[in-house]
């Protein structure tokens, strides 16, 4: 079962809107302050990646219920150029040392589950889940 809502990312203001949406859902689901902040940071990173590298895209937030567990799913989808070397962007220090922030390894750490699909010239689809404990 899932409940969803989404934000189109076009300008930097949309990053804030996506954060707000995610924080509201996380709060509603019962996540604590720290987890709310983590989920929001993950959304922020993903939205910022779209804004910076794909130009435009969409952040979708879903509430999950699975085996009696509740969780939040972030989907970041764009039709940008795709990521040429996924292994490289998932490397520690690759993004942080470049000053780009938490980067994708950061998103992976902030959430429980992380999946990425990227096709060059077609775009990128990232899904990250966090479960309520």
């Amino acid at each position: 079962m899932s409940d969803q809502s989404s934000v189109e990312i076009l300008t930097e203001w949309d990053i804030v809107a996506a954060r707000q949406l995610g924080r509201n859902v996380a709060k509603e689901l019962g996540f604590g302050t720290v987890d709310q902040a983590r989920i929001t940071t993950a959304i922020s990173e993903l939205a910022r990646n779209i804004y910076l590298y794909a130009g435009q895209g969409r952040i979708e937030i879903q509430q999950l219920t699975e085996n009696g567990m509740k969780g939040i799913l972030i989907i970041a989808a764009d039709s940008g150029p795709g990521i040429p070397d996924v292994r490289k962007v998932m490397e520690d220090g690759f993004t942080t040392s470049g000053g780009l922030g938490a980067g994708l390894p950061g998103v992976k750490r902030l959430m429980d589950d992380f999946k990425i699909e990227t096709i060059q010239g077609e775009g990128t689809d990232i899904r990250a889940t966090k479960w309520l404990r």
Binding site: R19, S44, R87, T96, S97, G99, G101, I116
Partner: protein, 333 residues
């Protein structure tokens, strides 16, 4: 702590305390990134935070200020751990340079030349999971109508594996003949590996020799992943197995040798376990999946087939290779 940073922090914090909007938090978090880049430690952040609050709300009870002092003390060890991260990152960078150089040396050192034989189309792809490739392919050919190929997987990765491979290469060179038979090749390399390397180093190897005049492929295996035989006339797939211990286990190991004759369009697909033991979320990749991928491109050149198999398997594994991936196709054309 530079004063403009303190002033900016105070402003951002003040906005948040007054309005508590998401926008404020977004600005704050972007700012925190900058602080990390400027090596400002968490204890300094707390101290700056305390100073800012003190300036804005000087009349708060003492317990608040004491509580911040305590937090500063708590954060000192966190700050040290962060500085350690900086030096670890720097060291990793240095090691990366060294590894790149080594991978470079390894590449030139171990390079092999694709045989060019009438009636035989060869495809080859070898992708390392990490910097250094632990799989090794070596062709032996001297324009006399034979094309030998060794496909090896060194158990163990990185450096030790790379050193071991140079041993195999020079061993093969010392045989110096493209019609050497698989069981002899495997015995010789087995003795070299057994003699020269420590006990924890093993190598699996498949050796095949193709005689173009008879369209006959003779092969042997030292504990290696079976090759696949594709028959163009039936469209069927078969495994080419041969018994034999891993190289380096026992100096007395003996190796089997078998032959198949190839018809037009037939293929022998040799590989390492990185191809078959790739894992998706649903479990291991079945051999049938690989058969299907080959089938899809069976009429294309061997190189296009290996590329297709790799691309598809990589996609299924979410671009996370668990092991070095090596695929060689001998296709009779």
């Amino acid at each position: 702590m530079p004063q403009h940073i303190e002033a900016q922090y105070q402003e951002i914090l003040n906005e948040y305390v007054k309005k508590q909007t998401e926008q404020n938090l977004y600005v704050g978090q972007n700012f925190s990134r900058q602080l990390i880049l400027e090596n400002i430690s968490p204890e300094e952040v707390i101290s700056m935070h305390k100073a800012a609050i003190r300036e804005l709300y000087s009349d708060l009870p003492d317990v608040v200020w004491h509580s911040f002092d305590f937090l500063i003390e708590m954060m000192i060890n966190y700050g040290l751990a962060l500085q350690e991260r900086q030096s670890l990152l720097k060291r990793q960078e240095e090691l990366k340079v060294e590894m790149d150089l080594a991978a470079n040396v390894q590449e030139t050192l171990l390079k092999t030349k694709l045989p060019s034989l009438d009636g035989l189309d060869i495809g080859l792809l070898s992708i390392p999971a990490k910097k250094m490739n632990g799989d090794y392919i070596y062709f032996v050919s001297d324009y006399d109508g034979y094309a030998g190929v060794a496909v090896a997987d060194v158990i163990g990765k990185g450096l030790p594996a790379a050193l071991c491979m140079s041993m195999i290469k020079f061993g093969m060179d010392s045989l110096n003949s493209s019609h050497a038979m698989p069981k002899d090749v495997l015995s010789v390399i087995n003795r070299i590996v057994e003699k020269s390397v420590d006990d924890s180093m093993f190598v699996s190897m498949f050796y095949a020799n193709y005689d173009a005049s008879a369209a006959k492929l003779t092969y042997g295996s030292a504990g290696h992943e079976p090759a696949i035989l594709y028959r163009a006339n039936t469209g069927g797939f078969d495994e080419l197995e041969a018994k034999g211990l891993l190289l380096g286990v026992s100096p007395a190991a003996v190796y089997e040798e078998h032959s198949v004759t190839l018809g037009k369009g037939d293929m022998v697909i040799m590989m390492t376990d990185g191809v078959t033991e790739g894992r998706t979320e649903e479990g291991f990749i079945e051999r049938d999946v690989i058969y299907e991928l080959i089938e899809q491109k069976k009429d294309e050149p061997a190189q296009a087939i290996v590329q297709h198999v790799y691309d598809e398997l990589e996609r299924m594994q979410n671009a996370e290779l668990q092991d070095d991936f090596t695929l060689v196709i001998y296709k009779k054309v």
